[in-house]
Amino acid sequence: MPTEFSFNFPLPNGLHARPASAFEEAARPFACEITFINDRTDAQASVKSVLGMVSTGTLPGDPCRIVFDGADEASAREELRRFVAEKLPHCDDPPLESIKVPGEISLPPCLRDAGAVLWKAKSAAPGIGIGRIVRLSDAIVPDDRGAGATVDAPQERECLLNALLALDRTYAERMKEITERVALGLLQAHRAMARDPALKAWLLAAISGRNCTATQAVLAAQDHFAGVFTASASTLLRERALDVRDVCRQLIRELKGSPPGPPVVLTRDSIVTAEGLTPSDLLGLDRRFLKGLALAKIGAASHTVILARSFGIPCVIDIADFPVARWEGQDAIVDGELGLLAVGLTADARRYYEMEQWRLNARHVRAQRLTALPGQTADGARLEIASNISRPDEAAPAIAAGAESIGLFRTEMLFMDRNEAPGEEEQYQAYSRALRDAGGRTVIIRTLDIGGDKPVAWLKLPAEQNPMLGSRGARLYPRIESLIRTQIRALLRASVNGQLRVMIPMIAGVAEARWVKRVFDEERARLVEQGTRLDSVPLGAMVEIPSAAFELNALCHELDFFSIGSNDLIHYFTATDRGTSTALDDPLAPAFLRLLKKIVDDSHAASRWIGLCGEMGGNVQCLPLLVGLGLDEISVPIASVAAIKDRLAPLMAAECRRLLTDALDCTTADEVRTLMQQREPRRPIPLFAEEFVVLDSRAATKAEAIKTLCDTLYVTGRTDSPRQIEDAIWKREAVYSTGFGYGCAIPHCKTGAVAANSLCILRSQEPIPWGDDGASASVIILLALRDNDEAAEHLKIISRLARLLMHETFRENLISVKTPAAMTAFLAEQIGLSASKNPASAVLNLEV
């Protein structure tokens, strides 16, 4: 009897080729018919057809159903359910809207007056790229056989089938050469389209029904399927028509026996301009020389643009009527910041773009430096920021993203999506890879946590009425003992490849911990007996069942460390379940906070290390309370590491502890929330810091000096839109020049574009013409204050500074101090403030 389940489509970009190919992959092993139904559009398609799935026009939030009919429908349903719940949400990039695309902004004066030819376009991928213009003509492969010729249908049929097989092989080959995640996902999606049974059936029917050649059939299929996308209500899905064209064009190349090569050979730094550019074309270009893309008819949400962004190639689109013949072979600049193509470059224009490249590089370098700093509060309390991973190859990207260690490596993924358990050697390789890639940092690997919401078909476990409260995690181990022994052996052997800790999931009490510990010790003894070299491996457990929290004293005798699994813990604690969200499972509920406090305090009383690896760790709102708890570590998704570190740095641990104490006295989660809104336990943001001083600047004009200062605010993280500050500064200059004589100028503005009130100083090598009256300045003090900011202390400092500027000795000192540090110390002393060193970034705090 057919069975089904329903869900709301979760992905922000709708159902396009990449998620559809992931669906197809999940459905492929099953024999039954699996039909995807969109109840909003009333469209349906086989889950095994990527083109069909994408044609359903499914948008975020659409009510969808999947119906299963056939012999293995029950297991197919289980598998797809799990896929939708766990994997699907990670099948796509964040919504495109969240990627910064600069809006309409007036040209910065130094570029406006530089004399280059600026071709207006739209920014699609950020960055600045310089190279020679290379034109790529849109090489649609025409069918060289004229219409009306006699067609040998069986022969065309065979050609087509061979070409489809060859294309599948070509994709497989190219996927081997590529390591980037986005590109790999895209090739996988294109490959799934190429072997879509719906495409093959359509092509074969066209050959026999329309009396056409294989090539003509492919061109007709391209129009047909691309037409389906073009009719979609969603811009994003409309732009997916490009993927169909791409696949069809690759297929035609195979039919013609010419395997895809680069569309053009680049031999030096190049800016490639084209009407359209398919993802395959882009992948074919030599990226060593590809410095920028200027495209006419490619959408911002197309996979071509998504690829360019993932490779860091600056890209502008919508470039209309650009006379490429006039500029071909000459130097050009793709300006992905302002959305321009600059040609006819002058010395001033090159100088402007050198400044732009400095701005972008310096910010990148600074972000990387901050990413590498250890997790620490402003008052010096350590909180290790680790990352959760599910696959061994995620360890390296996690560390690169700033994770100090791997706080949770879930091993379930190794055991799912297959027909039998992975062998000891395969597991050994996987664990060793993660340990090696972590480069000496701790990796906490969790033993198998299956059952409950993570069924594994080949284990053939009996169905349970309530799997979340049934046989799952450690309580299942005695029934799958040989499997667990294999995993523990693989782990112990891998221990020599890095800093391994092993963690047991779903411990309800001491008995389970002892069972695992016994198996652990037995396997270790056996390996040692065999002469295998092992390192010591701490053994710990997740705290995710409330009873474990109340047996911690005993557990501390058995185990070396703990990590709180906040997701399961809150649901078991409040008798709620993961699927239905209620107000009850609020992590800010005082009762839950009290439970966390007890767990942390009991662990520390027994000198045990305690971390947290649930969703609560990645929730920036909860961070002050987690700091207040005094956890040793929190482990968060890779994508959250940088944001969490950023939020942690200005927090004051002492105030976080007081905040937690007060939160524990609240009666409801809403009270806690209100309390947290009222009290921000962070260090005040200083007005001025050493990194805001630019000495010996080569800025030669007022415009360059103002740009340098605004860019400095960008580089130091005070603003994301330096252009907006620049605009506001020039608006103020238009009232009357802020050069007040005596070799000084004080450009200033109030703007919402700056994150905090900021004071920035530039000293130029040569005097810069500044005033309307020909006065020049070599000390430029820029003030960017927030609109409506009530920071009266900052205003007081600035008024004091303004008064001091009227004194000659003060100005002479500004001109003569030798280093940014000396400048900072001098200002701190003169404005009568005490300098306090920030341990993280040596920021001088000019708070009174």
Partner: protein, 99 residues
């Protein structure tokens, strides 16, 4: 001479205070008594009372925006200059006021 002054500028964060400092410093050096009110982004500071103004021989209004409580200066001799002028040439402004 007893001088009172008010300084004010468009954003109220720099020129208001530079002009005030310049007038105070220069007037004292030249042997005058001076009290300067600033109308900046922190609001009115060192506010002039009616008695201050009535006792003064002259009022210098170094402002390029409309200031608050202008009516206080109805009965006193006053000169109006821009804050920039007060910053660049305070001696000239004071000489003009005292003439």
């Amino acid at each position: 001479m007893k001088i009172v002054a008010v300084t004010a500028c468009p954003t109220g964060i720099a020129h208001t205070f530079m002009a005030a400092e310049q007038l105070e410093k220069t007037a004292r050096r030249l042997g005058h008594q001076i009290k300067v009110e600033t109308q900046g982004s922190m609001g009115v500071e060192n506010e002039l009372t009616q008695a201050d103004i009535d006792a003064a021989g002259v009022a210098i209004l170094a402002c390029d925006i409309t200031i608050e409580k202008m009516e206080r200066f109805e009965r006193v001799k006053k000169i109006e200059v821009s804050p920039q002028e007060a910053i660049k040439n305070p001696e000239g402004v004071i000489a003009k006021a005292c003439s």
